[in-house]
Symmetry: C2
Subunit: 451 residues, 2 copies
């Protein structure tokens, strides 16, 4: 089946919307075509490495003074002090309307309920008589949350990081968010801080905020793990911190993306709305449709063209769609095979038959099942976390959860019977590796010398 809408695989950058519309036929794609289609720019920010390294070094050396200088330079604000306290947060948060408060409460409650279910104690296992092993959860003591500000104010991200930190029981939660030009944070950020019981928000953004939380300054505590999305400076700073200090990070981050799998039971109006919701995030977002029906793909394209001009962020979405594409497959299994290779951050199964294929999902961050489950629900309020692996990191990484805020420490206890049962095997194994002191640590316990 030939169709004028099919671009040749060699012109992978043809636009999804605007009349062109890159639609590929799965059966005609070569292995190398697919590997080009699933490619993302993993490290677009490598050219800013030196700049970010300088910022980190400066914060390490000069602490709060460096942060104040960067606020002046980057955020165009002269700060009297580097944080907002509870009273100030309350004043700012007063601007949040009752409707908005109620919506935030719905999100809070659902996110709390789902994440609470992730906190589980584990059973002891007696691997041999007298040999007991188990794991106990311990909260990471000090965590840092980076909450973006400026043009992209994301109170939802604050909930997604703050709630699991609270459930995990982290003792110290440091929050950094860039100051607005008035030296404050957005009202929603202030309101969420208070919802979470956080009494202080540090006015620091960008690479410098990450550096401050990794090294500590006069006012900001050094933390054990840093969470949160941000622009390319934030991301680069997190990557450098991870590889040069003992401070951990939640995960590497790239532009957001969605892959929608659809068949002829899908609604093109819904799919188009989902593709556009992803595309409005930023010009580097990707919105991919993998569809068993040429007709649905074309109808979706028409719907995208119809809905796009109505959006305030139409220009951003249009540019993102220029980097996106559609693939038409012979069946849902082929569609899933493509999706597993792409390893999307968000995967929407826009089909009544989602139960037929959800078991074959191998790589994805978060999955939205059926025609009535928009990604927006999970972005905000259904309960799942929206901090997810992008850029094919879903092959090896999971999204943020309570797990991300705890360590699982292994414990073991041997009784007298236990050391007798396991000791002789350990002696042989230590000998095999040529580690005689390892053997001896068992031997002295098997036949302790007279006191």
């Amino acid at each position: 089946m030939e169709n004028k809408n099919y671009s040749q695989p060699s012109s992978l950058k043809a636009p999804l919307s605007g009349g062109g519309g890159a639609i590929y036929k799965y059966s005609e794609l070569s292995v190398s075509d697919i590997s080009r289609l699933i490619q993302r720019n993993v490290d677009p920010a490598n050219e800013i490495r030196t700049l970010v390294e300088d910022i980190i070094e400066n914060v390490k050396q000069h602490g709060d003074n460096a942060l104040a200088d960067y606020a002046e330079k980057f955020d165009k604000v002269s700060l009297d002090k580097l944080y907002l306290d509870k009273t100030e947060l309350q004043e700012i948060a007063a601007a949040v309307s009752a409707d908005q408060q109620a919506a935030l409460q719905v999100a809070y409650d659902n996110i709390y309920k789902f994440h609470q279910s992730q906190l589980k104690t584990e059973d002891k296992v007696e691997t041999m008589p007298g040999v007991s092993c188990w794991r106990e959860l311990r909260p990471i003591e000090k965590v840092g949350l980076y909450i973006p500000g400026g043009t992209a104010v994301l109170p939802s991200t604050f909930l997604m990081l703050g709630i699991p930190a609270k459930i995990a029981g982290c003792k110290e939660v440091v929050v950094c968010s860039p100051p607005q030009k008035n030296g404050k944070v957005n009202a929603f950020i202030a309101y969420v801080a208070l919802m979470l019981g956080i009494d202080k928000v540090y006015l620091a953004g960008g690479a410098q905020a990450v550096a401050a939380m990794a090294y500590g300054t006069e006012s900001i505590a050094k933390v054990d793990k840093i969470f949160g999305p941000g622009n390319q400076f934030v991301t680069k700073s997190k990557t450098i911190i991870q590889s040069t200090t003992t401070t951990a990070i939640d995960m590497p981050a790239g532009p957001s993306e969605v892959l929608v799998i659809a068949d002829d039971t899908a609604n093109p109006v819904f799919i188009a709305a989902d593709l556009l919701a992803q595309a409005e995030h930023g010009i580097d977002s990707q919105s991919i449709l993998v569809c068993t029906s040429q007709q649905i793909a074309e109808a979706t394209q028409a719907e995208v063209d119809r809905q796009l001009p109505t959006l305030p962020r139409a220009e951003i979405a249009r540019q993102a769609l220029d980097q996106s594409y559609m693939v038409v497959t012979g069946n849902l299994e082929e569609a899933m095979a493509f999706s597993n290779q792409y390893a999307p951050e968000h995967l929407i199964l826009a089909t009544q038959h989602w139960q037929q294929i959800s078991g074959s999902i191998i790589n994805a961050g978060s999955v939205f099942l059926g025609n009535l489950t928009p990604e927006s629900a999970g972005d905000y309020a259904s309960g799942t976390n929206h901090t997810l692996p992008t850029s094919s990191y879903a092959r090896a990484y999971s999204g943020v959860s309570v797990d991300s805020f705890v360590k699982k420490i292994t414990f073991q206890h041997l009784t007298h019977e236990g050391i007798q049962n396991i000791g002789p095997s350990v002696e042989i194994l230590a000998e095999m590796e040529g580690l005689h002191a390892h053997r001896n640590a068992v031997s002295v316990r098997l036949s302790p010398p007279a006191p």
Copy 2:
């Protein structure tokens, strides 16, 4: 209480054994003394970065040919082919004695049993009527295991990585181990491969093996995550791969370490054996004793001096002990406070009163409870994993477990009732963040247009 054995905190490098014996009194240590005592060299290998980057680039460009060249250069062996197949592994494994086989089987069974218990399905949570959220485990599809060879042959590490990979259900398990001068691997490695059902072991070591698994070569598959300890070249290669590709790594790695907390119910013979078992690993290992009893600390020192000369690896252990020290505290709570700041890879509670303090452990990799539980048991055969966070990474990282070989993917499903319940809140939240297309993805589902 003064004692001639107390070094001044300014001379923190005084040796534990050999007559000198750095014993510090906790109450006399300043905050800065403690922060110097708990300091480890996080990145001793940074000077080899360029060298390792060159190796990675060479493997990326020249694949198998580069690996053969490095085998010739570093392992002093000319390889006909880059792997051992099942028949070859069987021939090599024939050298393992019946006793050794039985000991490996004990280890295998215990490790399997404990790790099997970590694989759990999770319940669905209905956060609101009609809104269901849950997580499903999926194995990481392709994993790479690096098993050190040469002077440090570690069949135990192979079990510790291979068993959870098998339990998780990883589809492809690539194993690399450096060739011996005869072009083979050690008999124990071959035997464990066969126990694990692994039919192929690739003859590649060092930074080049890590690069091969990250980028793939003609014969070695590109993997999603790389596991395993190694020398500084392996470690540096893993760190670079983590920050420059989408391939994940198990964790950063540094020299191994143990911290023993003891009181007057401890046995100095056992403690000394445990400290020496750690010290024989390498000259950069650390063996720390934190003890409530000056008398036990001194008796342990005497025992270390007595046991040390009997060890084949005495010289290595002696050098490691030169970097180690003892701290005498007023009580077990102070000892635990010091340990939590140190965040040891291995923590031994050498006291009958371990139940009194184990609940206050915050930072540790794996914990050994009571006087009859040597670290050796967990190193080999009790069931817990021995791939653990070193260098204070235990503040934020857990040891390897089945969790390390799976992703937890979030799923959600909304019914008609669900979207009606949650939709209006999502619309408000999307509006708050200025994301109208996000709002629209809900709105079209709340009131779909006439078909």
